[in-house]
C-alpha cells in the first residue's frame, strides 16, 4: 500500500479537493445536530468539538441512541449539521453561514472519504474484483487490475477475487467493502459498526486489518462501535452519551505497533 499512498500523493489536480498539507485531518467545532421527530425535537449531537490528526485510528463508542452514528455522518459529510463548524485539513466545510448542497457533499465525499458499513452493501451480481473496481468507474479513472490485486492481497482476499459476494464469508465481505472504500486512496476511512454482523473472531480480524491499514498507509480511520474491547484497539477512544463526547484515551498515535 505504500506504493498506493505514493500514487495518491502524487496524483492529478483533482486532488486539490483533498486536504491541504495540514497535520489536523478533521477539526469539528461545536457541532450540533437536531432532528425533528413529529413535534418533538431530538438533540442527537450536542455541541461536540474534537480534532483528529492525520493517521489517527479513532474509535467512538456509546450505547444505542447516544448520537455516535449521527456524529460520524456529520464528520463524514453525509449530513449537514444544525450548527457548528467543520474543517477538513484546514479547509472550511460547514460553518455558521455555510451549508452544502447534496452535490457539493458528494464531491467532497468522493475525494476525501471512504466508507464501510455494518451491512457491507456489495453488489451481489458483481464479483469481488468488480465490486472493488466499481468506484473507479464513477471516478472515470483507469485503475489497473494490478493495483487492485495488491489491495486484495493486502486484505487477504486475493484468492476470492472472482467469487460473487454470496460465495464468500461475512468477514471476507467486509474486507471486500474495505478494499472498495480504499481503492480510490481516501484520506479518511469512516467505519460505522464494521463488525456489527461478524462473530468475535472475524471482528477481531477486521479491526486488525484497519489497524494495519492505518499504520502502513497513514490513513485516518474513525470507527464507530459498541464493542468496547474492539474500540480499545484504536489509538484514541471517544465515548458518546446523550449527544456529548468525551475522550477516554487522550494520547494520540500511541499505537505500540
Amino acid at each position: 500500500m505504500e506504493g498506493g499512498k505514493g500514487q495518491a500523493a502524487g496524483s492529478d489536480k483533482k486532488r486539490c479537493l483533498k486536504m491541504a498539507d495540514n497535520r489536523i485531518s478533521i477539526d469539528a467545532r461545536n457541532l450540533t445536530k437536531v432532528y425533528s421527530r413529529g413535534n418533538e425535537e431530538v438533540l442527537s449531537v450536542n455541541d461536540v468539538s474534537l480534532q483528529i490528526n492525520k493517521g489517527d485510528f479513532v474509535s467512538i463508542i456509546g450505547p444505542s441512541g447516544s448520537g455516535k452514528t449521527t456524529l460520524i455522518n456529520l464528520l463524514g459529510c453525509l449530513d449537514n449539521p444544525t450548527s457548528g463548524e467543520l474543517y477538513l485539513g484546514g479547509r472550511p466545510i460547514f460553518d455558521t453561514d455555510r451549508r452544502l448542497s447534496e452535490r457539493e457533499l458528494t464531491g467532497i465525499r468522493r475525494e476525501v472519504f471512504g466508507y464501510i458499513f455494518q451491512n457491507f452493501y456489495l453488489i451481489p451480481t458483481l464479483t469481488v474484483m468488480e465490486n472493488v473496481m466499481l468506484p473507479l468507474t464513477f471516478y472515470r479513472k483507469a485503475g489497473s487490475e494490478n493495483e487492485v490485486d495488491k489491495l486484495l492481497k493486502l486484505l487477504g482476499i486475493d484468492h476470492r477475487k472472482n467469487h460473487l459476494p454470496g460465495q464468500i464469508s461475512g468477514g471476507e465481505m467486509q474486507r471486500v467493502a474495505i478494499a472498495r472504500a480504499m481503492v480510490n486512496m481516501p484520506e479518511i476511512l469512516m467505519a460505522d459498526e464494521p463488525t456489527g454482523n461478524l462473530d468475535t473472531k472475524r471482528s477481531a480480524e477486521i479491526v486488525q486489518v484497519l489497524k494495519d491499514l492505518s499504520r502502513r498507509t497513514g490513513l485516518t480511520i474513525i470507527m464507530v462501535t459498541h464493542n468496547v474491547k474492539l474500540a480499545e484497539q484504536a489509538g484514541r477512544l471517544f465515548q458518546m452519551s446523550d449527544g456529548r463526547i468525551d475522550e477516554i484515551y487522550p494520547q494520540q498515535n500511541t499505537d505500540p505497533d
Binding site: R103, L134, Y139
Partner: protein, 395 residues
C-alpha cells in the same frame, strides 16, 4: 475497469423472470409496430404494382357498382355486365387515347378444380393490343397466340402450375366441353395475371355466345395528356362507366384506412402496455435498490452516474426487446400476411407486409425513444437518492 454497461446488464440478471417478461412485452410491441408499418407500406406498393401491371390507367365497363367493377378487374369476379363492342369506335379517336384493348371476362364452375370445385376464369383478349399494353409480361414457355379466333390459351404461371400444363397440352373448358391448346405459359408476375387463362377474344365470344360484347375496355392514356378531360368526355357515353385506376386505388386505400386505424390503435395500446411494463420493471428495481444507490454515492457515484446506470438498464431492455420483436416480425411476416388477407375485403397480390431496413430502423428508434422516456422517471428518482436517507431506510 468495469463499465456502467456491465453493471447495468448484470443487474438485469438479478431478477431474470421479471426482465424476461418485460423483454417479451417490448418484443411483442415491436412486432406489432414493425408489422403495422410494414403493412402500411407493403399494401400500398402491392396495390400500385397490381394497378401498374394492368398496363392501362383507365377502364370502361358496363354500368353497375363501381366498387364491384374495380374489384372484378383486380381480383376477377362473377356477376358480369356486358357492353357493345361498337363502343370502341367512340373511344379510339379521342386525342388523349394512346392505346386501347378490349376484354371479355367469362367464368365457369370447374368441378375438378381444388377439393370441391372452383371458378375458372377465362379472359378473352385481343392478342396484339393486349400484349402491346403489357410488354413487361414474359413467357416461361411458348408465346402469345397469333390468330384472333384460334382455340388456344396462354396460362398464367399459377394456373399452369395448378393444372400441371405445358405448352402443347390441351385444357378443357368445363360446361362447354371445348378444348384449348396451351400456346404459352407466362413467367411469374406476382399479380392476378398468374391465376388467369388468356384466350383470344373472338374465341371466347364464340364459345360463350357473346359475339359483339365486351366486359371491359382498357385505355392507356397518352403521356402528358389530360386524363380528367378524357374522363369527362367518356362519361357522356351511354350505359357505360369509367373507372380511373387512380380513383380505384384511392377508393381501396380509403376502405383499407379503417382497418389501418384499427391495427394502429392495437399497436398504440401494445406500446403503452410495454411502456408501463418498462416503467414498472425499472421502478421496482430502483425502489428495491435505494439503499444500494445511496452506498454507490458514498463510493463516489454522482447523481448523473446513478441516472445513467438506470437508464442503461432501460436501454438494454428496449434494444434487446426491440430487436427480438423485429426478428419475430421478419420470421412471421408470412403469417401476418395470411391473417391480414383473411380480415381485409380486398388484398392485392404480392407481400402485404414488407419489412425493410428503413422500417426496422424506424421501429427500433420508436421503441428506444419510448423506452428511454419510460426510464426517465425511475432514473431521475434513483439519481436523487440521498445516501444518508438510503442508508437509514429499511429497504
Amino acid at each position: 475497469m468495469i463499465s456502467k454497461f456491465q453493471v447495468a446488464y448484470k443487474n438485469l440478471l438479478r431478477k431474470r423472470t421479471r426482465s424476461i417478461l418485460t423483454l417479451i412485452g417490448i418484443a411483442l410491441s415491436a412486432w406489432v409496430l414493425v408489422s403495422l408499418l410494414g403493412f402500411n407500406q407493403g399494401y400500398e406498393s402491392a396495390l400500385n404494382k397490381d394497378i401498374d401491371n394492368m398496363g392501362f390507367q383507365m377502364m370502361i365497363m358496363a354500368k353497375g357498382c363501381p366498387y364491384e367493377a374495380a374489384t372484378m378487374m383486380l381480383k376477377g369476379g362473377t356477376g358480369l355486365r356486358y357492353m357493345k363492342e361498337s363502343i370502341i369506335d367512340n373511344i379510339v379517336n379521342e386525342p388523349e387515347v394512346d392505346k386501347i384493348t378490349p376484354m371479355l371476362m367469362q367464368a365457369v364452375f370447374d368441378p375438378n378444380k381444388g377439393e370441391s370445385g372452383g371458378i375458372s376464369a377465362y379472359l378473352g383478349v385481343d392478342p396484339r393490343s393486349f400484349s402491346a399494353m403489357k410488354p413487361f409480361l414474359t413467357f416461361r414457355q411458348g408465346g402469345w397466340f397469333v390468330n384472333e379466333d384460334s382455340y388456344e390459351a396462354v396460362m398464367g404461371y399459377e394456373a399452369a402450375e395448378l393444372e400441371q400444363r405445358e405448352t402443347g397440352d390441351m385444357i378443357l373448358i368445363p360446361e362447354k366441353n371445348i378444348q384449348l391448346k396451351v400456346a404459352g405459359i407466362l413467367s411469374r408476375t406476382g399479380t392476378q395475371d398468374d391465376g388467369t387463362i388468356f384466350v383470344p377474344l373472338r374465341t371466347v365470344q364464340k364459345i360463350f355466345d357473346r359475339s359483339g360484347e365486351l366486359t371491359t375496355i382498357g385505355i392507356k392514356v397518352k403521356k402528358d395528356a389530360d386524363s380528367t378531360l378524357l374522363e369527362e368526355k367518356l362519361y357522356k357515353l351511354p350505359d357505360v362507366q369509367i373507372v380511373s385506376l387512380a380513383e380505384v386505388k384511392h377508393t381501396i386505400m380509403k376502405l383499407i384506412s379503417t382497418a389501418k386505424v384499427m391495427v394502429l390503435s392495437i399497436a398504440i395500446i401494445a406500446i403503452m402496455i410495454a411502456m408501463v411494463g418498462v416503467i414498472n420493471t425499472v421502478l421496482m428495481s430502483v425502489l428495491e435498490r435505494l439503499k444500494e444507490f445511496g452506498i454507490l454515492k458514498t463510493i463516489g457515484a454522482m447523481p448523473w452516474d446513478i441516472f445513467t446506470l438506470v437508464w442503461i438498464e432501460t436501454l438494454i431492455l428496449c434494444t434487446t426487446g426491440g430487436i427480438l420483436g423485429i426478428v419475430l416480425a421478419l420470421l412471421l411476416s408470412r403469417v401476418a400476411d395470411i391473417v391480414i388477407r383473411q380480415i381485409l375485403p380486398y388484398a392485392p397480390s404480392g407481400g402485404l407486409v414488407v419489412i425493410n431496413l428503413k422500417l426496422i430502423l424506424i421501429t427500433l428508434s420508436i421503441i428506444l425513444c419510448i423506452g428511454l422516456l419510460s426510464g426517465l422517471y425511475p432514473a431521475w428518482k434513483a439519481g436523487r437518492v440521498r445516501p444518508l436517507e438510503a442508508i437509514r431506510s429499511d429497504v
